[in-house]
Structure formats: structure tokens, C-alpha cells
Amino acid sequence: MLPELLNILLLTLRVSGTALLISILIGIGLGVFVALRDFPARKLVIGVINTGMGLPPVVVGLLVLLFLWRGGPLGFLELIYTPTAMIIAQVILGTPIIAGLTLATIQSVPQKYKWQAQALGAQGWQMAWLLIRETRLSLLAAIMAGFGGIISEVGAVMMVGGNIKGQTRVMTTAIVLESQRGEIELAVLLGLFLLALSFSVNLGLTIIQQRTKRA
């Protein structure tokens, strides 16, 4: 039991950790870009991002499933029922959360600050980086929100991962399975582990967040 539990824990960290990193890269990049640049259909893009913040995981799971199935548009990649498929689903869920909160954060930076930076010669990438540094407190909160959405998700990873023992079983899908099996105590134990895992990751992020505040 114990090695299996460890296995599930590690896979959860691997899948959700990778998904979080990719979501951060795309989400913050996209959020900053949309906040600073004007382009056609900008409002439409913002609307899409904001809708994406509340995407139903089962719908995402179903769509990813249809794309990755044999004979589906991306079926040749043979990714269905692999951790990679689960990462893809979680990135689709996590990215809009981080992008939406980044967008709101960057937009709320006073225009005066942006002018000042421009006057000092900041352009393009430099401007983006300055704003990211300046708003890192809120951006870390955005990352935590994204992580919360990813780690707690069960519908999509169940569908595209298949909850295969030793291959794609993560904490949330294991909890569903054990409660179906009537192993309520084990399900509760897994739930506590998941909470502990979530708490330690958030604690880590909070420590980074609060340290930068003092510095």
C-alpha cells in the first residue's frame, strides 16, 4: 500500500507541477501581452480568457479525449491514457486562470508608473519584466489560484488519463476510486494527503511571496 501511495503522490506532483509550470509560462506571457498591447479583437480575447477561468473540467476532458483518441485529429501522437494527456488537460484549465488574473493585475498598475518606466527607456520585454517584478505579489497569488484549480481537478484527468493503476492514477482519481470501493477511511486518508500536499506547495509560494514583500 505504502509504495503505491508514494507512487500516486509523486505522479500527482509530476503531472500538476509540469502543468503548473507550462500554465505559468503561457498564462503570464499571455496576460502581460494582452494587458500592454492593443490589437484587433482584443476584447474578444479578454472575454475568452475570462470564460476560460471557469471552464468545466469534464468538458475540457471530453474535448481532449476526442482530440487524442485513435482516429482523432491528434490520435497519431498516441498520448491518450498517459500522464502527458493529463498535463495537456490541466494546462488548458490552469492557463486561463493565471492569464486572467495576470491581465487584471498588470492593467491595475497605475499609468503613471508605466510612463515613468517608458521615460527611463524601458520598452517591450524590459517593460514587461519591470511590471512582472513590480506586481509579483499579485502574480504569485495568481499562480496559487492556478495551482489550486489544477491540483484539485478530477473530471478531466479521469477521462484522459483513465485512472490506470501505476500509470495515470493521481490523488483525486484515487479518492474517487476508493470511495466507490467503499474504502472510506482510505479515501479520507488520501484526501488529507492531498490537502497536505496542496498546503505545502502554497506555503512555499507564500514564503516566496512574503519574503519579496519585505525585501
Binding site: R70, G71, Y81, P83, I164, S179, R181, G182, I184
Partner: protein, 273 residues
């Protein structure tokens, strides 16, 4: 000057993130080699039987089995669409149709377990005194006692639906409710509502200590729950691992495997000669 050091910082940060990201990505994207997709029912996965059998098969054959536990309806659909290589299911009528339509081949009996009618200990419908399970269903309908159906196109749901015609009862949503959930969740709902429900014995046994409901009817021939293995027809869909499917199906009906099934609580082997 100030700005330029910050750009250096940015490059370093991007580089570090990229490295971390690629390490993570490659650590999880190890390509699948010689895999078989087995579509089966949640009850089979829940019972734990496959946790015993599949590691043995993987060791013997070198294949990796991806077991997907879904409702029988979905398992059958995966077979039709070629999304699975082999099926282990328990909906005889749908199975026969699948084979007749040419999507499944080489259907073989593997094992069976049985269903039981569960209900409140005081048995308000008097189902215990019925002469058959059909009559027991009839009494539930006549007395208007609550009955919880799985309603999820699972093998258990399909079995339940095949019994109602024997009772000549018209279902009414006044007493006939659909949970739309798995067996465990449905048992808990039935217990809370003190209702009747049809359950597979293995799931009932694992929930027995948590619920007050008791067995009110068992042992009818109608209540037997046979599992068959069906190989997905490679002529209907591309990409089906037909050699792997045959290897797994042969393994299930082999006498050594049948012996293991006999030793597993709640299942009886059906392929022994």
C-alpha cells in the same frame, strides 16, 4: 544600466524555467510501447480482481495493459469506435449485438458473479416472500416503495432493466429514482432513503458494514452476472492491437488464470473445461 541588469536577470530566469520545464516534460512523456487498452466496467476495477490478474499477465507477456474502468455502455462504445483493443464486460444482450454488428470477435465466457436485491430490513414491500425476483420487483412497484436505479447504462443498470418486464410493472418517478452514479454511491443513497436497489454482491460486501440495508432476494438464475471477453475487430477500425487483445483474452480463459479467479472472493470461473 539599471534596466540592462534586469534584462540579464530575465534571460537567466527564462533559461532556468525552460530547463526545469523540459526536465519535467521528458520525465513524463516516455512513449507507450506494446500497450493494450482494456475497456471494462467500473465494478470489475472496483472489485480489485484485475489488480491481481493484470500484473501476472504483464510479466508473462511483456505487454502493458491500460485498464479503463467505465460503464458497460461506454466500454461497448469504445469497442465500436476502436478506442479499445479488448473488452471485459457484463451486458450479454449488448455484447451479442456488438458481435452481430461485426465490431467484436471471439466472444468468450470468463467468469460470473451475482446480483442481489437489497432493501430495508423491515421489507415494507414484502419482497422477501416473493416467489421470483420478477415478483419481488412487482411488489416493490405495487407498494410504492422507493427503488433507486443506477440509471447510468452500466451492466448493473442493464440487468435491472431486463428484470422489470418480468414484473409487468409500469415505472413511475414517484417511487422509481435514478441516481446516475456508480454502485457504491447508489448503495449509500439507497441506504439514506431506505430504498430498494439492485447491487452486485462484491460491492455490497465492501459496503455492508456501512449501510443498514439487507439482502431481500438472491440466488435466482436471472440474477447471475456473466462476464465475457470480446476482442475488438481490427477490420472495422484502424490501429487496434489485435495480437495483444488475443493474448490477453487467451490469458483470461487459461486454466491457471481461471484458478486464480476461483480463489478470488465473489467471482466464479466460467471458462474451465
Amino acid at each position: 544600466m539599471l534596466i540592462s541588469t534586469k534584462t540579464g536577470n530575465l534571460r537567466l530566469n527564462v533559461a532556468v524555467s525552460m530547463i526545469v520545464f523540459f526536465c519535467f516534460f521528458f520525465s513524463v512523456s516516455v512513449a507507450g510501447y506494446k500497450t493494450i487498452i482494456l475497456a471494462t466496467t467500473t465494478s470489475t476495477v472496483d472489485s480489485g480482481l484485475l489488480d491481481v490478474l493484470i500484473p501476472i499477465f504483464e510479466k508473462q507477456s511483456g505487454y502493458i495493459v491500460k485498464t479503463i474502468g467505465v460503464g458497460s455502455g461506454m466500454a461497448m462504445e469504445m469497442g465500436r469506435r476502436g478506442q479499445a483493443d479488448v473488452l471485459l464486460v457484463h451486458s450479454p444482450r449488448d455484447e451479442e449485438k456488438l458481435v452481430k454488428d461485426g465490431f467484436g470477435i471471439n466472444r468468450r465466457a470468463v467468469m460470473h458473479n451475482d446480483f442481489i436485491l437489497i432493501g430495508p430490513a423491515d421489507d415494507p414491500a414484502g419482497a422477501k416472500t416473493a416467489k421470483s425476483v420478477g415478483e419481488a420487483f412487482k411488489k416493490i412497484g405495487e407498494s410504492g416503495s422507493l427503488f433507486i436505479s443506477r440509471g447510468d447504462k452500466s451492466g448493473t443498470h442493464s440487468k435491472e432493466l431486463s428484470i422489470w418486464p418480468y414484473s409487468k410493472t409500469i415505472l413511475s418517478n414517484l417511487w422509481y429514482l435514478e441516481s446516475g452514479q456508480g454502485m457504491g454511491a447508489t448503495l449509500l443513497i439507497a441506504d439514506q432513503k431506505q430504498a430498494y436497489t439492485l447491487a452486485d454482491r462484491a460491492t455490497y460486501l465492501s459496503f455492508k458494514k456501512r449501510i443498514r440495508l439487507v439482502i431481500v432476494r438472491e440466488g435466482d438464475k436471472l440474477l447471475l452476472n456473466p462476464y465475457h471477453v470480446i476482442e475488438v475487430n481490427p477490420e472495422k477500425n484502424k490501429g487496434v492491437n489485435t495480437t495483444g487483445a488475443k493474448a490477453f483474452a487467451d490469458f483470461l480463459v487459461a486454466s491457471a488464470t481461471q484458478k486464480l479467479i476461483a480463489d478470488f472472493k465473489g467471482f466464479f470461473p466460467d471458462a474451465v473445461k
